[in-house]
Symmetry: C2
Subunit: 82 residues, 2 copies
């Protein structure tokens, strides 16, 4: 298992409710890909959303996001944290 930070760039105007719903959608299917989404942070003005997850690969993280309709623009492994 590894940790990943993914980034979405096209979510201008996202609301708290929409972020919650998107996260819940990911949580509902993540287990089938061996992924867990821990947290997400959104900047509605620029449309940027950051998601922190754990999973077997970046591809598995992306599959969850694709299945729930919000493919990530970038996914970075983040093996280091403080």
């Amino acid at each position: 298992m590894a940790r990943f930070m993914d980034v979405h760039h096209d979510m201008q105007g996202i609301t708290a409710e929409q972020l919650h719903q998107a996260h819940q959608a990911d949580l509902a299917v993540e287990g089938e890909e061996g992924v867990h989404f821990e947290s997400a942070w959104a900047d509605p003005e620029s449309g940027t959303v950051y998601c922190l997850s754990e999973g077997p690969s970046a591809e598995a993280v992306q599959r969850v996001h694709e299945r729930t309709g919000h493919k990530a623009a970038e996914i970075h492994p983040v093996p280091l944290s403080v």
Copy 2:
């Protein structure tokens, strides 16, 4: 107070010890700017580092990073989180 995610793009090869030292340097001066750095995550391969903080403004967050020698490339307010 607001929450911010900032991004650094030029930290290829960063080690766990270097990330720890950079974070400790930020913690040592952040109070003078009313900022608190909560967490940071690093991808040594691409050189990307994400820092999550709270503070009065993006400018205050940047001042801390500038004072400790690692100016952020982007700073986004992230008022929404899950």
